[in-house]
Subunit: 270 residues, 2 copies
C-alpha cells in the first residue's frame, strides 16, 4: 500500500501525470487547487449515452457556464486530448455518484460503477482564469481567505436542450473598481474556461438580493471601493443535470478536479 | 408572383429579415455575398437525428473548421437564436439535397423534404472575418477578382467522432507579409467563425503541393512579397458528412448562405 501524502508541498514540481499516478495509487484524496500550477484542471460529468446528446447540446448552447474541453467516446475512460494515458475513473481524488438526481455516495474510484454506455464530459474550470488574474497582480478574495468561492443562482435561465434546463449559476469575486477593465480583458481571452464576466457591479440585476448570502460556497466580504464581478460557474451544468434526475450520473467531488496535461496558456485566444 | 430582383443594389439597406422575406418569396435565387453587410451569414447542414450526436460531437471536437452558431431542436425549422421568425427551409436562396452522400438535386425550398427527425446545424462562415480584415485595409484577393476562395484538402486529419472522419479542408488568402500579424490578431477575435489561421507561409507543411491548384474554388495569384495564409474552412464538415453517406442530408448551395439577424461584431471576443 502506497504512503498517503500529507502535504501539497510533497507534490510541488511534479508533472500532471505524476500527480495523477499518486492519486490513482490512493496517495492523495484531497482538493486539487494549487496542484500542477499552469496546467488545466477540469470538471467531470458522466451520463448514460441516452442523455448525452441533450447534455452535449446544452453545453453547446450555454458555452459560458458549460465550457467543454473534451467529450469522450461512449464507454471510453481515457481522455486522449487532455491527458493521454489517464483514466477518468481513477485519476480524480474523490467522486460523487448520483442516482435519479440524488447524491448516493462519495467514492474514491469509479471502476465499479463504469458501464459501456457512459459518456464522460470534461469541462473547463475557473482555476484557469484565476491564475492569470493573480499574475496581473489581482488578489482573489476567496483564495486569500482559504474558503470556497461564493456562488449564486441567478434569475437568468440557461437555454434549454432536451431534458436539461435551469437557471444560470454564477461565482463572484470582489475586485477593486480600478481592476475591472483588466479583469474583463484577461478573462475574455479564455472562452474555453467561462470567459469574460457575465455581469459587473449590481447583484440585483441578476436577481441576487444579498451578496453576503451565497447559494453555494462561502460568503466573502466586498470592501469599500470594490465591485462584485460575476462569472458563469461550472456548478450550472451539475445543477441542471441533477434536475433532470438521470438514472445514473457520476461527477468529481467539489474541489477535487481532473488535472490534465494541457497548459492553461494553450486555452488563450489572442 | 413577386418580381425577381435583378441586382444586389436593389437589396441595399434592407435589414436581414427583409432580405429573407424576398428570398422566401422567390425573388432572389443568387449568392448572398455582400448582402446585409455587418450581419452574420451561416452555412446550413441538416441530418437525421440518428446522426446528430456524432455530427454535434464532430463539431465540438473540431471547432475551427466547424464553428457552430446554432443547433435547432429535432424537427424545428426556426433558428430562434440567430433569426427569430425565420425558416431554414425557405429563407436560403438555393439548397442541395444529398442522398447516401451523393448530390441528388438542387432546389429552392426544403419544405417537401422536411421530416420531424431532421436536425439543423448553422455554422459560421468566413464572410464574418473577411469584413474586419477589409476594414483594416487588407485586400482580399478572391473578392477583388470576383472568384471563389481557393480551398485545399490538407494532410491533417480532423478528430473523428462516430461515423464522421476526414481531412481538414482549408481556404487560402494571400496577404502582404507585413499584414500577417494584424490578420492573425483580427481573426483570433472570431473563434465562432473559424478564428485564427491554422497556418501561415508554407503550403507543403499542410501537404499542399501546388497552391495554384486548389481542390475546390478558384486559383488566385500569390504576388512577390505576399504570404499564403490558411484558415480552416467550412467545406470540411460538408466533406466529412458526405463521406459518411447519410441516407438524407440537406445543405445550402455553395455561396448561398443563411442571412441571420446577428451582427458580426457580437461574435468577437475582446
Amino acid at each position: 500500500m502506497a504512503t498517503v501524502i500529507r502535504s501539497m508541498h510533497d507534490l510541488t514540481g511534479l508533472a500532471p501525470h505524476q500527480i495523477r499516478q499518486r492519486i490513482r495509487a490512493g496517495q492523495w484524496r484531497r482538493p486539487t487547487a494549487g496542484l500542477a500550477p499552469g496546467y488545466t484542471q477540469a470538471n467531470l460529468a458522466v451520463v448514460p449515452r441516452a442523455l448525452a446528446y441533450d447534455f452535449l447540446l446544452f453545453c453547446q448552447r450555454n458555452p459560458q457556464p458549460c465550457p467543454l474541453l473534451e467529450v469522450l467516446d461512449p464507454g471510453a475512460h481515457e481522455p486522449r486530448e487532455l491527458a493521454p494515458g489517464a483514466d477518468i475513473r481513477t485519476d480524480i481524488p474523490r467522486y460523487r455518484v448520483y442516482r435519479n438526481g440524488t447524491l448516493a455516495e462519495e467514492v474514491d474510484d469509479l471502476r465499479a460503477y463504469w458501464r459501456d454506455d457512459l459518456v464522460g464530459f470534461l469541462l473547463g474550470c475557473s482555476f484557469t482564469f484565476e491564475h492569470p488574474l493573480m499574475d496581473a497582480g489581482m488578489r482573489i478574495r476567496h483564495i486569500e481567505l482559504g474558503v470556497n468561492v461564493p456562488m449564486f443562482i441567478t434569475n437568468r435561465p440557461c437555454k434549454p436542450a432536451g431534458v436539461f434546463h435551469g437557471p444560470l449559476v454564477v461565482s463572484m469575486r470582489p475586485l477593486p473598481a480600478d481592476d475591472v477593465v483588466r479583469a474583463v480583458q484577461i478573462t475574455s481571452r479564455f472562452p474555453a474556461v467561462h470567459g469574460a464576466p457575465i455581469h459587473v457591479g449590481d447583484p440585483t440585476v441578476l436577481g441576487i438580493c444579498d451578496v453576503q448570502r451565497p447559494d453555494f460556497g462561502d460568503a466573502v466580504p466586498v470592501a469599500p471601493g470594490e465591485v462584485p464581478v460575476f462569472w458563469a460557474c461550472g456548478v450550472t451544468p451539475q445543477a441542471v443535470m441533477m434536475q433532470a434526475k438521470p438514472v445514473l450520473a457520476l461527477t468529481h467531488a467539489p474541489g477535487h478536479m481532473f488535472i490534465s496535461d494541457r497548459r492553461d496558456s494553450t486555452l488563450a485566444v489572442l
